[in-house]
């Protein structure tokens, strides 16, 4: 029968211990977890990116609910254990729930220190510890008021940067003369301060808080020197202390934390403690690497490997604020017998300092360019004699020892057991081994198989260099041009992943594909909207706010903020009734210009936005509908008069043009699509410079495509010749559907054809008739959801408020 293992706390350390335990000894224990936080195990290190909006909570979950189910773990969410009874070997939660244990792990973590100044308990005073704190800060940040962060250490600065990103006016108060003095020397602290201030965050050092002001809620803070800073939110990030009360009450030995021996056992051999609540070798630990090491020892001990010992290692620190690079490790205090090597390039904001003792690196501080951090850190951990490297040591492994300057030299120089990913304790050999063994070729592959670079991500560059080093030219991350600065993925990858992961909304997509910005930019949003729309017709709800204004208001914005309106004229044909309606609209709304377009239609220019719905209503009444002159969509099918009138005409080119336009209007495409049908090879409708063109001949129809007559001038390619109108329509529809599925947003047909190759297009829409039919059917299906006149929809009341100002305050002028 399985032994009962109870875990108090569900943070990263016990999570890692259980992961390792299930690996080493599956089924040995029946596990119950009590978590005071009402949620699953998440990556606490990544709370700062959640605060700043670079990540969402879902992205930082380590173990989702299914993990607990898969491993048969009973997880009590939101249950705080009040008592451990070592006699009866039970734990009891505040609601009375009890559980028996054979082995117990205490992983209660730490509690943030609250400075007991007057006012510390006012609403509006927060600490920075868990997701609840982040959510409270996000709520407070909505006011975009003033925030004061007490504490200029790692957490305090991350909180300050996050709140500032969220629009708050932030001041950081720090007791010491320089920021992060425990991890940085004064010079690096000064550089950091300059960078923080450049982001609009005020920094006050040597600031001693006297009182937090406010009656019912926080209104400000007063310093010992009398300075008063107004604030709506105060975040205390001055440090943590081990959360060990429950262990103390149970009679376990507690000092600064719960005292454990090298096997991570407390003074009761059936009770382990790990994480920030534990004190080992007289120290308590707060960084993730030693805590994961503790977890590993606990897992080994529980699985019967009694030789496992916790041996605290030197740790390195990085700040997770986008755009600020700093790295520090070891001891960098000045002392007798120590010398230092300093590299300073103030203009580029680069600072590097190595502290040496007996020709060994004992400490390093890097600011600006931290790419060689892992190499220095490795020298430090090994205590290697650097006498031979000393002259060029400071320049990093690219120079040290006279090696050639190569961007991958730094990682190449690392031994196999050098740590690459500090969060997850993954060393170089583990990564290169997996790359070779499993034939991994991408960063995502490495992340999936090794867990390297999945937590804080600061080692991503190193992992990429390892890929380069192992694969050589086979790894070429730069081959793909990212869609925009919000992602590293290119258009084609994104289209592929939308299908593969069934991404059906823009937020889902940004979530799944790790978008770097909270809601994209003006470049990616319209592209994503098109991709998801074109992939999931009928399922995806079009996101108007991700469309360019022209597509949002079905008209073309002009330089003065007015719009131009172009009704559809099927195949370029019109009538007295339509022309009369247009004339009436021009008079009624005092439209200043009326012009013929190059696509055989009439353009009314200078329409005021607020008049648009009424203009459309009048045009609709005469049977005119939106011409989509504003859209990445089918524009016009230009025609000549063909056999109707022309003495040279060979086919009914006008009729075919109208038929195509009526069949295809309303479909969205990667870029605009212009077509034409000419009734004879004289080609009066200029079909041979269009995206798709048809030239009628006696024996049928020559279908052309991939022409251009804009930025580039290019004659069309002949795709095929068909005998009937029906066949012509099928080929053209299949061609456009293929373009809709493969084209990159804003890529015209001629560019798409050049990229994918004319032969591949010919193969899909001409040679392979099954494929052609399938493409045709997919287009027809998607048209079921696209052929609604947007003008009629909007004049019938859909979102008409958009066209009106929400208030008119022009009267205020008179009052002045």
């Amino acid at each position: 029968m399985a032994e009962k293992l109870v875990v108090i706390g569900n943070g990263m350390a016990p999570g890692r211990a259980l992961e390792k335990l299930f690996d080493k000894a599956p089924g040995t224990y029946e596990v119950t977890i009590f978590n005071a936080e009402p949620r699953v195990n998440y990556d606490r290190i990544m709370l700062s990116p959640v605060l700043s909006g670079e990540k969402s909570f879902d992205e930082i979950i380590i173990h989702g609910d299914s993990w607990y189910i898969d491993h048969n773990v009973m997880l009590y969410k939101g249950f705080r254990i009040d008592e451990i009874d070592r006699e009866s070997k039970t734990v009891t939660a505040s609601d009375g729930t009890t559980a028996e244990y054979d082995k117990l792990i205490i992983a209660t973590g730490s509690v943030p220190i609250v400075i007991p100044v007057p006012g510390h308990d006012l609403p509006g005073v927060l600490t920075y510890r868990d997701l609840d704190d982040v959510q409270a800060m996000l709520l407070a940040a909505q006011s975009r008021g003033k925030a004061v962060v007490i504490g200029g250490g790692l957490l305090g600065l991350e909180a300050a940067a996050g709140l500032s990103d969220r629009g708050m006016d932030v001041t950081v108060l720090h007791l010491m003369p320089t920021l992060m003095e425990r991890q940085l020397d004064p010079t690096a602290g000064h550089l950091l301060r300059k960078e923080v201030e450049a982001r609009g965050i005020n920094v006050i050092t040597e600031a001693n808080t006297k009182a937090i002001l406010g009656d019912k809620k926080v209104t400000g803070i007063e310093l010992e020197d009398g300075t008063v800073i107004p604030a709506d939110l105060i975040v205390m990030a001055v440090g943590i202390r081990s959360n060990s009360a429950i262990a103390k009450n149970a009679g376990l030995t507690v000092n600064r934390g719960i005292v454990v021996d090298e096997t991570m056992r407390t003074s009761d051999p059936d009770i382990f403690a790990l994480g920030e609540c534990a004190e080992a070798h007289g120290q308590v630990f707060g960084l993730v690497a030693p805590l994961y090491e503790m977890a590993s020892v606990v897992a080994s001990q529980l699985s019967g490997d009694e030789s496992a010992r916790f041996d605290p290692m030197v740790t390195a620190t990085k700040l997770k604020v986008t755009g600020i690079n700093l790295f520090s490790a070891g001891d960098f205090a000045e002392a007798d017998g120590r010398d230092e090597i300093v590299l300073r390039d103030a203009a580029r904001g680069i600072y590097r300092r190595l502290i040496l003792e007996d020709n060994r690196v004992v400490g390093t501080v890097m600011y600006g360019d931290t790419s060689d951090g892992a190499w220095f850190f490795d020298l430090l951990k090994r205590g290697e004699d650097i006498s031979d490297l000393r002259e060029t040591l400071i320049f990093g492994p690219g120079y040290a020892g006279g090696a050639a300057l190569d961007p991958t030299a730094a990682v190449a120089a690392l031994p196999d057991d050098a740590e690459i990913c500090g969060c997850n304790g993954i060393c170089k050999g583990a990564i290169t081994g997996k790359i070779a063994e499993l034939g991994l070729t991408s960063l995502d592959d490495v992340r999936a198989h090794t867990k390297a670079s999945v937590s804080c991500g600061t080692c991503t560059g190193l992992v990429e260099q390892l890929l380069t080093l192992t694969l050589g030219d086979a790894y070429d991350p730069a081959a793909v041009q990212p869609m925009c600065p919000c992602t590293d993925l290119g258009h084609d990858d994104i289209r592929r992943l939308i299908v593969a992961h069934e991404l059906k909304t823009i937020p889902d997509l940004m979530q799944a594909l790790e978008w770097k910005s909270s809601c994209g930019c003006a470049k990616c949003r319209p592209a994503l909207n098109y991709y998801v729309l074109a992939t999931w017709p009928g399922e995806y709800v079009d996101d108007g706010q991700s469309r360019f204004i022209n597509e949002r208001v079905h008209a073309n914005i002009q330089k003065d903020g007015t719009y131009s309106v172009v009704p559809r004229m099927w195949g370029g044909m019109t009538s007295a009734k339509e022309l009369r309606a247009i004339a009436d609209v021009v008079d009624k709304f005092e439209i200043p210009s009326v012009k013929c377009t190059g696509g055989q239609r009439i353009d009314m220019l200078g329409v005021r936005k607020e008049d648009l719905p009424a203009v459309w209503a009048d045009l609709n009444a005469a049977g005119l509908v939106s011409g989509h002159a504003y859209g990445k969509a089918l524009r016009t099918v230009k025609t000549c008069v063909g056999t109707d009138w022309c003495r040279f005409g060979t086919q009914d080119s006008t009729g075919l043009g109208i038929r195509i336009e009526k069949f295809m209007w309303g479909s969205w495409t990667p870029a605009k699509v212009k077509m034409a049908v000419s009734g004879c090879p004289r080609n009066c409708s200029e079909a041979t410079c269009k995206d798709v063109g048809i030239v009628c001949v006696d024996s049928g129809f020559d279908i052309h495509f991939a022409g251009a007559a804009g930025l580039d001038i290019k004659g069309t390619e002949v795709l095929t010749h068909v005998a009937t109108e029906d066949e012509a329509l099928e080929v053209i529809v299949a061609l456009v559907q293929l373009y809709r599925e493969q084209g990159r947003y804003l890529e015209r047909i001629y560019k798409w054809a050049k990229r994918v190759g004319f032969d591949s297009i010919h193969a899909s829409v001409v040679e392979d008739t099954d494929k052609r039919r399938a493409l045709f059917d997919r287009f027809v299906f998607s048209q079921k959801f696209s052929q609604t006149d947007p003008w009629a929809e909007r004049t019938e009341g859909a979102r008409t408020q958009e066209f009106r100002p929400m208030a008119d305050l022009s009267y205020m002028e008179a009052a002045e």
Binding site: G167, P526, G544, Q545, E813
Partner: protein, 113 residues
């Protein structure tokens, strides 16, 4: 409501679409009211410092808007143009009370603007 009060009510918070905007006619240039994805509201003069484009018609992303005419990106928080371009559009102090949007009256009058 008179012009002498400190704040002018211009409508309900819900009147402004998320990641979208509405305009307010005002002395001088119109004012654009924006709502970002997280529901934060911003008010700036509806006129791009580049060629006077109506910012209210742009795509809203994060706390920025991209001008519909030439893709200048303007911070809604500071009014400053982002990236390589330079310029600034005037922001109008905005407050929310009981689900209503209020603008600072002082910032609205043409004299001050």
């Amino acid at each position: 409501m008179n012009a002498l009060s400190d704040w002018v009510d211009i409508g309900a918070v819900d009147d402004v679409p998320v990641r979208g905007s509405r305009t307010v006619k005002a002395p001088g240039d119109d004012i654009a009211i924006f709502k970002s994805a997280d529901g934060s509201l911003f008010a700036v003069r509806d006129r791009c410092p580049h060629r006077g484009g109506p910012l209210s018609q742009g795509i809203v992303h994060g706390t920025s808007v991209t001008c519909p005419l030439h893709n200048w990106v303007i911070s809604l928080e500071t009014g400053e143009v982002q990236g390589p371009d330079v310029g600034c559009v005037k922001t109008i102090p905005l407050a929310v009370r009981d689900g209503r949007i209020l603008l600072s009256a002082a910032a609205l009058s043409r004299k001050v603007a």
